[in-house]
Amino acid sequence: MKESIFHRLYDDYHQDVFQFLIYLVKNRSVAEDLSHEVYVRVLRSYDRFQGNSSEKTWLFSIAKNVAIDYFRKNIVRERHAFDTFDWEREQLVSTMPTPEQFLEMSEEMHELLEALEHCTGDQKMVIVMRYFQELSILETAEILGWTEGKVKTTQHRAIKSLRSILQQVGKEANS
C-alpha cells in the first residue's frame, strides 16, 4: 500500500517538491535529505489525509514544514534558545555552498537569488512558491495557511524588497 502511494507521489510530484526544497536550502545534499523526510512524514500519515485540501497542497505543506523545521533547528542551535524562531519574520538563509546549477546561472539571476536570501522568510517562501513552483495564489494560501490577501500582499512586498536590495547592491558596487 505504502509502496504504491510512494510510486504515485514520486511520479506526480517528486521533482516539484525537490526543486521547492533546493531553492529554499540551496544545497543538493540537504534537499535530498529533506525530500526523504517529506516522504517519511507523508507515508506515516497518509491514511489520515482527509482530502480537506488537494493532495498537492497537502504534500507541499508538509515540505514547507520540513524546510521550516530545518531552518528553525539551525537558528535554534545558533541562539541556544528554543522559542524565538518566527519563520515569517526571520530570514530563511542557507549559508551552504550553492549547487552547481546556481553557478551556471546568469549574473542577473545570481544577484536576484542572492537578494532573495535577504528577504524575510515569508517573502522568500512566497517567491519560491509563486514564481519557481508556479503555484496559484489559492494553492499558496492553502499551503501556508494564509488568506489569499496575505499571499498577494506578501508577494508584492517581496518584489519591492528585492528591488530595494538589488538597487542598494548596485549602488554599493558602483561607489
Binding site: 509502496e3 510512494f6 510510486h7 514520486y10 526543486q19 545534499s29 535530498e32 535529505d33 529533506l34 526523504h36 523526510e37 516522504y39 517519511v40 512524514r41 507515508l43 506515516r44 500519515s45 489520515r48 480537506n52 497537502w58 505543506s61 508538509i62 521550516i68 523545521d69 533547528k73 535554534v76 542551535r77 545558533e78 528554543f82 524562531f85 519574520r89 526571520e90 530570514q91 555552498p97 542577473e108 539571476m109 536576484l112 537569488l113 528577504c119 524575510t120 517573502q123 514564481y131 519557481f132 495557511g145 488568506t147 489569499e148 490577501g149 498577494k152 500582499t153 512586498r157 518584489i159 519591492k160 528591488r163 530595494s164 536590495i165 538589488l166 538597487q167 542598494q168 548596485g170 558602483n174
Partner: protein, 404 residues
Amino acid sequence: MNDNKWNEQDIESLLKQAPKIHDNRSKEDVFARLQADGVFDEEPLKKSRKKSSIYIGGITAAILACAIGIPLLNSNNEVEEQSADMASYSTEESSVGNRARDVENDASHENNAADNAMTMRANVMPSTSAIYANELVDNTLFTIGLLGDDTESIPAAILIPNEKILEDFGKENPTQVEMYNYYAPLLDEEGFAFNDYHPYKGEIIERGNTVVHILPEGHGYDVASGTMAQYTGSLIDTFKNYEKIKYEQQDGNPVTFSEAGEPSKLVKVEERLKFNYYLFNQRGINYLVPQIRSSFVDAKTAIEAMPDHLNDVFQSAIIDGINYEVEENETVHVTFTEPLDLASYDTERVLHMIEAILLTAANFNKQVVFENIVQTEWQGFNFNKPLPMPIAANEVPIEIIRNH
C-alpha cells in the same frame, strides 16, 4: 543589466525564468533509502529505528562546510513540529529531530556561526510600507481609506503606473476624485484581506478643493458611532489632499447625521490629519494606522505620545525599552536616550518604528532627524541628514484593482 535600473517588471520576469533544478537520483535510489529506514514496514516506525548514514553524512558535511556548530539538543527542548495547521496529517516527532541529535557533536565554531547568522539577520530587508516622493517618477498616487476588522480606517495607497493612468483617463494627473470614481468599484478589498466597503453609497464629486459626498436616503453610515467613525476616517484617508469634505443630500442641503442631530458642517481635512501612527495587524499583515485619530498640536507632542497605546487592538510602533526625546523647529529631532544599535532588533520592527515616526511628523509637514543611532546608514536611510518625508502610508499592491 544596470544595477540601478532594476524595476519590478524586470524582477518578476527574471523570477519566472529561474531554471528548473532536478533531483539526479533515480526513483530506485529514493525508494531504497526509504526502505532502509523502514518506512514501508507494516509495523509503526520506531523512533531512531535506523540511522541513515547518508542523511547524517549529508547534514554533517553541509554543516561543516558552513562552520555551523551544533550545541547539545536534548529531548526536553526539542522543537515540536509545527504542523498543526494541517490537521489531517501526523504531528509525530520529526525524524529530522532524531537525526539532529545524532550529529550533535559533529561540528565546532559555534560562535563564528552565530556571528555570521547575526550579520545576515542584520541585513534582512523587509519592504518599507510607506511611499516616498521618488516613487512618483513613473507612478501616480491613489490614496484610499480601507476598512480593517477592528479599526475605523486603514490609510492606504496604491502606486498606479503613469502608463495605466493614461490608458484609463486619457490624460496625466487625474484628480483624486476622478481616480476614486474610476478605481473604487474595481477594488478587490476582500481578496486582499480588508472588509468590503468601497465604493461609497451615493455620489462623490469635487468643487474646487472640496470633496462633496452626495448621500442617498438610508445610507446607513450613521447607524452607530462606530460606523460613523469608519466612514469619516475613510473619507479623510481617501481624500487627504483636499481642503474640505462636505456632506450633501440629493437636494443640495447639508446632511443631518443621526449621531450629531444637526446639519453637518464642512470637514477641514488637514485638522483631522494631526494624528500619530500605531501598529495594527489586519489578518496577518501589519499596517501603520491612527489609533483613535487623536489630534495633536504639533509633531513633538504627537511623537512623544507614540509609546502609549489604548488597548490590544493597537500596538505601539515604538519598540519596548527604547526611549527618546523630541525637539521641534524647522525639522523634528528625535534623540534616542541610549545609543540605538538597529542591528540589535528585528529589522521589520525597527522599520515600522522609524516609518511611524516619519509618517507622524509628515502629518505636520515636518522632516525628521534621528540622533544617537549607531549606524549612519541603514536600509537606504541616511541618518546624517533629515530623512525624506513619506507621502503616504501602507502601500498596497496594484493588484487590488481588478483587471489592472
